[in-house]
Symmetry: C2
Subunit: 288 residues, 2 copies
C-alpha cells in the first residue's frame, strides 16, 4: 500500500512522541523535528508507510544517539500483557470456539500501538473485541488453510501484542499438530514499539514447539531481511499458511497473495484502503 | 500562547483537509502540501498557533486560487445550527439558570471546529455539555462583571457556533439591559471555518440591539485589525466585559487580563496549557 498525504503529518507526530520518550530538552526536540520535516520534504512520497516510518525513526535514533526510544514503554506493555496472559488464555480455552476467540484476542492485542494511535485502552479493547462483529471476516478460509498446513509464517507486530500472538499460536498448534514448523518474524532492530527477537523470547514464543525466528529489516544496515526483498517473498510463498499482524505488515504486504491479515484499523488511511471504519476489526485473507 | 511542536503536524493535517475540500487532484494536493511543509520548515516556531495557521491556510488559498475552501461546510453548519436554534433557545429559557445554560450551549457550539478536531458530533456534544462539570469555572466572577457592565466585546470563533453565541448574547442582553454596546468580533477574511461578518449576519447577530461588528485580521492585507495590535488590545481594555470563544482566541490572547475564555479543550496542546483534559469545558476568567 502506498503512503497517503495523511502519513506525512502522522510521521511527524510519531517523531515528536519518540523524541519526548528520549528527552525533555525542547530545543533538541525542535532541532530533530526540523531534520525530520526537511527529510520528508526531500523524499519521494510514493513509498509504503513503513518505509517512510523507518526513515523518520532512524533520524530520531541517530540524532538522539539512543538505540531505542521506546525501550521502557515496550517493557511496560510486555509486562502488562504477560500479566493478562492467564486470564486471556482461560477466556480462549473456555470459549465455544477457541480458535476464533484466540484470533479475536490477537487482534485486540493489536491496539498496543505507539505508531498509529497511541491513545489506546487495552482492557476496554479486549472486552469490546470479544463480542465485536468483523468488518472483513475470511474465517472459514483460514480454517480450511489451517487443516492442510504443515508450515506457517507468523509476521508479528508490536511488543505486548506478541503475548496475545503466543496464545493464538498455542491455540493453533494444540489443535493442528501437523504444523511442524513456524517461522515467527520480528523486527531485526528497534523501531517504534515493534517486537524484536528479545521481546519474542520475553513473551515465551521461543518455548513453542517448532518455532524459529526470522528478523525483518527496518532500513538499518544488517537489521534483517527486507519485506520488499525477493527472498522474503519466497519465504512467504513457500509456507502453507501466513498470518500477518497489524497495520505495518498490511501496508507493506497488502498486495501479496496468500496471507491472512489480522488487524484493527487504527488510522483513516488503512480504514480507507480496506473500506472499513476506524476501530473495525479485520481478518482478511488474500488467498486466491 | 506559543505554538508547541504538536502544532507542526496538526497544521499540515488541516492543510490536507482544506485541500480535499477544494480538489480531488492528488498531484495538486501533494504539490501544495509540499509548499506548506517547506514553509513550516522555513519559519520560526515561536509564533502563536493562529499566526502559524493563518500562514498555512493562506498558502492553500493562494495556491488553489480559491477564496474560501470551507465555504460549503461553513454554510452547512450555519444551517444545522439555525435549525437547532429554537430547541436550544427553549432549553436555555426553561432552565433554572438560563445564563449558565446559555454559557454551556455556547461552549457546546465550540465543538464545530474543522481546525483542532474535525471528527465531532454536535448533537452528542450538546446533550453531554448541558450536564457536564466544568474543568475551570469562573462563573461567579462572570456574574459580578456582568452586573456592572455597560460595554462588551464578544470574540466569536466558528461558523455554526455563532448561532449558539447569539443565544448567549440574547440571554445576557435580556437580563442586563444596562449593556448598551456590544462589539462582536469576527474574522475579516475566510480562514478555516471561522465566522466572518457574512456568517454573523446569516446567524442574525446584526438584529441584536447595540451590536456592532469588528473585523479581525487573518494575516491577509486589509483583512482587519490584528489581534496582536496595540489598537485591538485597547478595544479589549476599554470594554467592561470581554467574552472570548474558542481555542484560537485563547491561543492568541490567553495571556491578556480581563477576558472570560469560553471553550472546549480539543487538542493536547490547549489541554496541557490549561491543565485540563481533552474534551473538558472551560470558563476561565483572567480578571485580576
Amino acid at each position: 500500500m502506498r503512503a497517503y498525504l495523511d502519513c506525512i503529518p502522522c510521521l511527524q507526530r510519531q517523531a515528536i512522541q519518540a523524541l519526548r520518550f528520549v528527552t525533555d530538552d525542547e530545543t533538541m526536540q525542535e532541532r530533530i523535528l526540523r531534520i525530520v520535516v526537511a527529510k520528508l520534504q526531500d523524499i519521494d512520497w510514493t513509498g509504503t508507510p513503513p518505509e517512510m516510518a523507518h526513515t523518520v525513526h532512524r533520524i530520531v535514533i541517530e540524532e538522539c544517539g539512543v538505540k531505542d526510544p521506546y525501550r521502557d514503554v515496550k517493557k511496560r506493555y510486555n509486562d502488562i500483557a504477560l500479566n493478562l496472559y492467564p486470564d486471556i488464555k482461560r477466556t480462549v480455552e473456555e470459549s465455544s470456539e477457541p480458535l476464533l476467540a484466540a484470533v479475536r484476542m490477537a487482534i485486540a492485542g493489536n491496539i498496543i500501538d505507539f505508531g498509529a494511535n497511541p491513545d489506546f485502552d487495552l482492557n476496554k479493547t479486549i472486552s469490546a473485541v470479544i463480542g465485536e462483529e468483523f468488518a472483513i471476516f475470511d474465517y472459514s478460509q483460514l480454517e480450511t488453510v489451517l487443516e492442510n498446513a504443515n508450515t506457517m509464517v507468523y509476521l508479528a507486530d508490536n511488543t505486548g501484542e506478541i503475548v496475545f500472538d503466543r496464545i493464538l499460536l498455542e491455540t493453533i498448534l494444540d489443535r493442528h499438530p501437523h504444523i511442524g514448523k513456524v517461522v515467527f518474524a520480528v523486527k531485526g532492530a528497534p523501531v517504534i514499539n515493534d517486537a524484536t527477537i528479545d521481546d519474542a523470547r520475553y513473551a515465551g514464543i521461543d518455548k513453542l514447539s517448532g518455532v524459529e525466528f526470522l528478523q525483518v529489516g527496518t532500513g538499518l544496515p544488517n537489521s534483517g531481511i527486507e519485506r520488499t526483498s525477493k527472498k522474503f517473498h519466497e519465504i512467504l510463498d513457500s509456507a502453507d499458511l501466513v498470518i500477518s499482524k497489524g497495520q505495518g505488515n498490511y501496508e507493506a504486504l497488502g498486495d501479496h497473495s496468500g496471507i491472512f491479515f489480522l488487524l484493527m484499523a487504527k488510522c483513516p488511511v488503512i480504514a480507507s484502503d480496506l473500506n472499513v471504519k476506524i476501530g473495525d476489526i479485520v481478518l482478511k485473507g488474500t488467498y486466491t
